[in-house]
């Protein structure tokens, strides 16, 4: 088996099939990045998986998962003004959390340089919106590089780091989901480790670092001067690429993954436009664009999500009085979704049909397939929790969801969660819903990693302002959705064992009087606890805890003598009430056409949490599986 950790530290040049999220780690090592921070969020957490593959003592940098994206940005900033090249990475909406700090970075003299890696998510593959973080770059005068594939991720990170070090600024490397997760063979350069200078080089004379009143203006001027200097350097350092097909009529300006989609469409259609593919997408190389616009009759700006470059290009054409027809966004749909080859072909079909690939033929004999929404895993403690909590609430009660695996409780048959906003928002929203409301009880959910990330201010507010709500903390002992990262209550950080900060201790420390704590597999007890909690006049918290069974089972399977188990149905006793399969709805249960129920051996983990849900007691206790001993 190839050892990823050793590979990433290899001294000699090498080529390997890796995803973008792995390629970036080699780039960080070669660039001499010293401090890397993050909060887990798709599409970026596999960057940390690649880091984890390197033994802690061998890592030529420090890495941590911080409590949230804002703290992660602050840690990376602190390191950068101490002279260390640093990097923070997180998902698209993570920048909203980090923004209070992030928007100030450009004002500061980051002596070590800093790269901010953003995992934007066109297509909303695993996010609550499609926000285009290029807007943040404009607002904060921060340059952006945008790679299209893992090879470019590797090269563009190094280019971003070099620029950040040269000008002592933050530089964004904007990745999108299918650039993070694309896999290809990347050719990596040799690496010679440099001697690490640990000297804390923070010096107030490198500043000012105090953006207060009149001090702000020189800092802002410096940021703007940097930006204009970068614009003038862009043609040289911006990693732009031009495809010259001698087409003076039709040309396309594009960048990132949509460029590759475009190339695939053109492979099929045989279309030959001139193409300008931008590497640094903010600030723009004005002279290069001006020349490109002048040398074509029509230019299409092929731009995923919002129309920032289209606006800039039109401005250049207007100011320089260039006679060129500029095509861009046409309708709402051109602002929505990922620019896959199918999407790009659709855009070209409307504009220049001869350049569009053929649309796929429709099926001669379609067969409708039932939808498959995401589900909680077999044995998931959240399923037991939702099943039990539902018995304690009236249908009209208001249920506020939050971010995490437990968000999935909003779906049938549980319907526990009627609105979702962002990390940690549920408690505040619930408080608002409770005002003037004496007929519908308000319950909100919160995960344990989210509790530490952004949950605590809402909880303190509920207490401080005496809101009449019930908070249910869905404690599974990990950051499950993003791949089981540790958090402050697990007793481990990314690098070491650490003192646990139990959720309950924090709540008690705040002086919350009504705290109920129940293992979710004890469903009746949980139902009773929630009934009691919602009857409290004021703020009550229920800690509904059970370890993440996906994580636990993976750990168990690795142990010697592990014995796989599963439940079974007592067919004589089963009277087809279908609570297990339709109400508790563990994916393990199979509903047969004759109404009988079976257990799917592919899925059952033998946890037995279902036994208590059967009104006829027809589920047999978990038994050892035959021949499945590992």
């Amino acid at each position: 088996m190839k050892n990823l950790g050793e590979m990433l530290l290899q001294r000699e040049a090498f080529s390997e099939i890796v995803m973008g999220n792995t390629a970036i780690v080699r780039a960080m090592i070669e660039a001499g990045t010293r401090v890397i921070t993050s909060y887990p969020g798709s599409p970026t957490p596999e960057i940390a998986s690649a880091i984890a593959a390197i033994k802690k003592e061998d890592r030529p940098f420090y890495f941590e998962f911080s409590t949230n994206e804002k703290v992660a940005t602050e840690v990376a900033y602190g390191a950068a003004i101490n002279g260390h090249l640093s990097t923070v990475f997180f998902k698209s909406v993570g920048l909203n959390v980090a923004s209070d700090t992030f928007v100030q970075l450009n004002l500061m003299n980051l002596t070590g340089g800093m790269v901010v890696v953003l995992g934007d998510d066109p297509g909303a593959n695993s996010s609550q919106n499609e926000q285009d973080n290029r807007h943040f770059a404009r607002m904060s005068y921060t340059p952006i590089f945008e790679p299209a594939n893992p090879t470019e991720v590797y090269h563009f990170y190094k280019a971003a780091a070099a620029l950040a070090q040269q000008l002592h600024i933050p530089v964004i490397l904007r990745l999108t989901t299918h650039v993070c997760h694309a896999k290809e063979k990347v050719a990596f350069a040799a690496w010679q480790p440099a001697v690490f200078d640990k000297t804390p080089r923070f010096d107030v004379n490198n500043g000012p670092y105090m953006p207060l009143t009149s001090l702000v203006f020189p800092m802002k001027r410096r940021a703007l001067q940097n930006l204009s200097q970068i614009a003038s350097m862009s043609e040289k350092v911006g990693q732009h690429h031009r495809v010259n097909n001698q087409n003076r009529q039709k040309a396309i300006i594009t960048f990132g993954l949509p460029y590759l989609s475009l190339l695939d469409v053109l492979e099929e259609s045989g279309g030959k436009p001139d193409i300008l593919k931008l590497g640094m997408i903010y600030p723009l190389p004005v002279a290069l664009l001006e020349e490109f616009l002048r040398s074509h009759e029509e230019v299409l700006v092929l731009e995923e999500l919002d129309d920032l470059i289209e606006g800039e290009v039109k401005r250049i054409a207007f100011e320089k009085q260039i006679k060129v027809k500029i095509h861009g966004k046409t309708d709402v749909e051109s602002w929505v979704g990922e620019y896959t080859a199918d999407k790009v072909a659709g855009i070209l079909r409307n504009l220049w049909p001869e350049m569009a690939a053929a649309a796929p033929a429709s099926l001669a004999a379609p067969l409708p397939v039932p939808a498959r929404p995401a589900q909680m895993c077999p044995g998931c403690g959240h399923r037991s929790a939702f099943h039990a909590i539902k018995q304690a609430l009236a249908p009209a009660d208001i249920k506020v969801a939050d971010i995490g695996c437990h968000t999935l409780g909003f779906m049938p048959p549980y319907n526990m969660g009627e609105m979702l906003m962002c990390m940690g928002a549920s408690t505040g929203i619930a408080a608002g819903l409770s005002l003037f409301n004496d007929s519908r009880r308000v319950v909100c959910f919160l995960g344990d990693s989210t509790f530490f990330h952004a949950g605590i201010p809402g909880i303190i507010n509920a207490l401080f302002n005496r809101h009449n709500i019930t908070l249910i903390v869905m404690e599974n002992g990990t950051t499950a959705m993003t791949g089981h990262q540790d958090h402050a209550a697990t007793g481990r950080n990314f690098n070491d064992l650490t003192e646990k900060i139990p959720v309950r201790s924090v709540l008690e420390g705040l002086g919350i009087k009504h705290i109920f704590e129940v293992d979710t597999y004890q469903q009746q007890k949980l139902t009773d606890a929630v009934k009691e909690a919602v009857a409290v006049e004021g703020f009550a918290v229920v800690i509904a805890k059970h370890p993440c069974m996906l994580k636990l089972m993976r750990e168990q399977r690795r142990k010697d003598g592990f014995q796989a188990r599963m439940v079974s149905i007592d067919k004589k006793t089963c009277d087809h009430q279908h609570v297990c399969v339709s109400n508790f709805a563990c994916p393990t249960f199979i509903l047969n056409p004759d109404g009988s129920v079976d257990v799917n051996p592919d899925l059952c983990i033998g946890d037995g949490s279902c036994l208590q849900t059967c009104p006829s007691k027809a589920i047999n206790r978990p038994q050892n599986r035959e021949g499945n001993k590992e």
Binding site: S126, K185, L263, P413, A585, L591, L603
Partner: protein
């Protein structure tokens, strides 16, 4: 060589990431360019997971267009039909492992489960070649992906990729007991 597109689909937890990476590396061991991409994140929790693999010289994005896959590999019956319906081109091949993980609407009596015979009819009606895989004696259900891989190798579904390339790819990605068990199964199924 011409472009060859593979779309892989299954349910979160079935091991699609491993089979897609073995396939991509097998193609690479055979000296052919390959690009791939997997689903990560939210959808992994019991939802649909897809991997995409593109093979050939003139390929750019790792993503396969609708109706343009030459091969659909599915780890589950419903996902076989869904993926083939959306991605497979006429005369393309569907190879799937015949297990059913009932989607929620089936378990809630809001939809009918798709039966094995319907998959065959569906393929016939749309001009798809069908290869159904099922192995009753797997030591572990998590090895269904390897049974599929053996079928892909045995039926020579990736042109130019031979047994030794698949094995080299498996050796890149697995070690110890896991490698032993998977390699043992793979080689045994090639002999059947």
């Amino acid at each position: 060589m011409t472009v060859f597109n593979v779309y892989l689909s299954g349910v979160g937890g079935q091991g699609i990431g491993l089979i897609s990476e073995v396939m991509q590396r097998s193609v690479d061991h055979a000296g052919i360019k390959a690009l791939g991409v997997d689903t990560h994140g939210l959808a992994q929790r019991g939802g649909i997971v897809a991997s995409q693999l593109r093979i050939g010289d003139n390929i750019h994005s790792p993503m396969v267009s609708r109706g343009k896959a030459d091969l659909v590999v599915a780890l589950e019956r419903h996902e076989a039909v869904r993926a083939a319906g959306e991605y497979l081109k006429k005369n393309g091949t569907l190879v799937y492992y015949n297990t059913s993980w009932q989607p929620l609407p089936v378990r809630m009596k809001k939809a009918e489960e798709i039966k094995t015979a319907q998959v065959a009819e569906f393929c016939q009606g749309n001009g798809f070649r069908l290869i159904e895989v099922f192995q009753s004696d797997l030591p572990d259900p998590r090895m269904q992906n390897m049974a599929l891989l053996a079928a892909i190798c045995k039926n020579n579904l990736l042109a130019g990729v031979r047994k030794e390339h698949y094995i080299a790819a498996m050796r890149d990605l697995m070690s110890g007991k896991m490698l032993e068990a998977n390699l043992g199964l793979f080689e045994r199924l090639l002999l059947v």
